[in-house]
Subunit: 326 residues, 3 copies
């Protein structure tokens, strides 16, 4: 079980071995988190800098707690009060944090490609710094994709979560696919697992070219559907995506109510699925839009809390593997 | 000395035993704070999340330092950059931090009842999470009430602060009573101590129904006065309250100058009081409004700095009792 | 090697012995930073409060990491959400953080003299609290001046950085001298080192009275020039200053392009200098204004990254000397 990946920028090119190493490592950290002190000295002396150019409380807190559990030091870069407003380039900001001693940068930016550009610069300068994509534009959100994967695999075999457990499972991803970095990361990991992935959404949010999203090494199948009903039949898992209200002012959606009527997940609609079906959502949820409020609170179906909990263990695993491999 | 209270939402129903346990615990932490390392491993592995929906530097810093002194991990939720602006409900935000592993939530909100609602939800879900009210609307601010109590009791007997020390003391609370959560928490604790509590303020800020604020178990007396002079006679302690400038645009006050003339505390007015009289203020102070600037800087009378210092020990005690009892 | 300076408010009155003690201490912390754990328990139990009334990410992060490396506890005061907007005076805010147990305050304010005023009040109250000026108006920015000094001296003798190494060196400070606190701190330290300091800038940004900036104990020479070319001849070091874009709306500069044409540092202009010439900049840099973009990325000439790295060791040294001397 060796780890050679220096940056984590996306899941498009992950191998089965990498997924399984990540799942196994996250699994061991899940045990640390259930111990009394909840902390390991694994990354003592390592500096993790959260560079969230796009504001976020949820993901930043998750990375912060994960880093603390590993005994790393954490710096938080706050875009509002930063040098960026003073005309500094993003690469220069990154190099400043590099010069302070940063070992791992977690980068979120509303524009796709920013983490890649910083990673390239760090490599060119032979700095040894690792870049973790914390969500870039509409490109990828790999730590979310991995925590979703960990949540599903743990449900199927808590003691031994492995990617092959999802082989042949029918997994429906519903909603605003085209704008979603979460959807893209999920598609890569689920396809690699050999799952049957069904994308569902209105044509304005699910263009046909998604059909071509495929890797050679992927054993899973990808299907597109503009209607929810056929996709739900015998589904094992439903991944709902956050619907941003701006989509309506962009004329991509008629109304939230109409969206819920056509694509919202409810107890009634779940009857079409496999009886053990579970629902995921990356949060924050618009109750009554992506999922009915009643369903969201139903612990028999919702995995939303488990996803957040998995996030700590998975981010510990990512930081640990990146921080100890180089 | 056992502690069974899971949440601290207000002081209205505290027993004498609870007050004394809190005072004794805070007293022992005051000793920790005077040691060289100032830290105890009591809450190692415990996650304290500051959820301050209403911005605050002072109280948040106090809780943050208290948690650090107990070796807890702290997460800070920043409302400005949060999921709330993305449409998430407050209960869902709280559940997200629960899922990350939070054990104690310190909650401040401009609306009364928010900490209670979150506590009820946490209990319903059998989470074991403890809620500490960091100030909710005009309802209560229990940690401020307790640090005021600790400050007073320590003054009377530094080695053995107990609530009965305040029995029969004349304590005047002056100012904007009706809008003050601090006043309400103070009234409950001082009445429980058996003090004679005199509320003073203009009729617009001190409605008559405050007379009915009484618990069965309270042995103290409550008095209302719209004039300062009679209340000050032989007073032992004067608690001043912050006057918010918005009150004037609400037509509740003619001017700050006139307020100071009628209700401001000055050296001259102190001559009416007991010669050992001391003054408190929860801060931040408008100098020259609630208290004259000269008096505020007079260490013979002002307990304002001691209140802030007490805050750390009292908040350590609260976090410790809540974090180790469940 | 003893340290008796309680506050660090500026470099105007530093002695050679103090500079050398600081450089030697920073040098030893540079070794700590290259060790595996990167941490020493030197300031365990000490509370460092960052009071940045003027927003800053770079300097605040540097102080924060320095404090963490010394095992101190850090409180961050955020002006945006603070009591200041509620009418509290700056001195009262400082006294609140004092009462919470702060030992060292790092203060940045857009108005010159604020750190001095707080230091005077802390002394008057015999608090023992140390004040470190994190940059006040156009007065001084001592930690920046010291990290620049440390960067230069380490370049000349990495094992034994001493101030006398700069004796007789020709050092050019270019740009907006009159508004720069960094320039003033640099002038004091470089003059004390016995360097020949050449100030260069347009007359609107470099008034003639700068000639009189001299201390009795300074052995260095101070020169003023409104043209860059003569100053660059045989220069050993060039310190560029950040140009704030507001200067143009103040009618002090015609345009950024014209500024770069007259005072911007480029590869071509470096040919006038000593062949080993190096360039510094306190950051954040406006690429293509103070320095050409190509030159900024040329590791043969730029010391900008080393300055940031030096910042951690120098700030550790300052906090350590101030925190253990009193």
């Amino acid at each position: 079980m060796t780890w050679t990946r220096h940056h984590v920028l996306g899941l498009a090119d992950w191998t089965t071995e990498e997924y399984d190493t990540l799942l196994k490592t996250a699994s061991s950290f899940r045990e640390v988190l259930s111990s009394r002190t909840k902390k390991v000295p694994a990354l003592q002396g390592v500096v993790v800098t959260n560079m969230f150019f796009e504001p976020s409380t949820r993901t930043r807190s998750s990375f912060e707690l994960a880093a603390k559990r590993l005994s790393a030091d954490i710096l938080n870069f706050a875009p509002g009060t930063s040098s960026l407003s003073k005309g500094e380039t993003i690469l220069d900001t990154a190099k400043t944090y590099l010069a302070m001693g940063t070992n791992i940068m977690v980068i979120r930016h509303k524009q796709a490609g920013v983490p890649q550009a910083i990673a390239a610069e760090m490599d060119r300068l032979q700095t040894g710094v690792s870049i973790l994509n914390g969500g870039d534009g509409q490109h990828e959100h790999p730590s979310q994709g991995l925590l979703d994967l960990f949540t599903l695999c743990c449900l199927l075999d808590s003691d031994n979560p492995q990617i092959k457990l999802l082989k042949g499972k029918k997994i429906v991803i519903v909603g605003d696919i085209v704008h979603s970095r979460v959807a893209r990361s999920n598609i890569w990991s689920l396809m690699a697992a050999g799952a049957d992935v069904h994308l569902v959404g209105p044509p304005t949010l699910l263009p046909e070219w998604f059909k071509s999203m495929k890797n050679e090494s992927n054993s899973g199948q990808l299907f597109l559907d503009w209607h929810l009903k056929p996709a739900l039949e015998n589904a094992d898992f439903i991944m709902t995506l956050r619907l941003q209200k701006e989509r309506m002012t962009d004329y991509l959606l008629p109304s939230l109510r109409e969206y819920h009527q056509q694509y919202g997940i409810t107890h009634t609609r779940l009857k079409l699925c496999n009886s053990n079906v579970k629902i995921l959502h990356p949060g924050p949820v618009n109750r009554g839009v992506e999922i009915s409020s009643e369903l969201m609170d139903d612990p028999n179906f919702s995995l939303i809390q488990q996803q957040v909990t998995s996030g700590i263990a998975v981010r510990m695993a990512l930081l640990f593997l990146m921080g100890t491999s180089s």
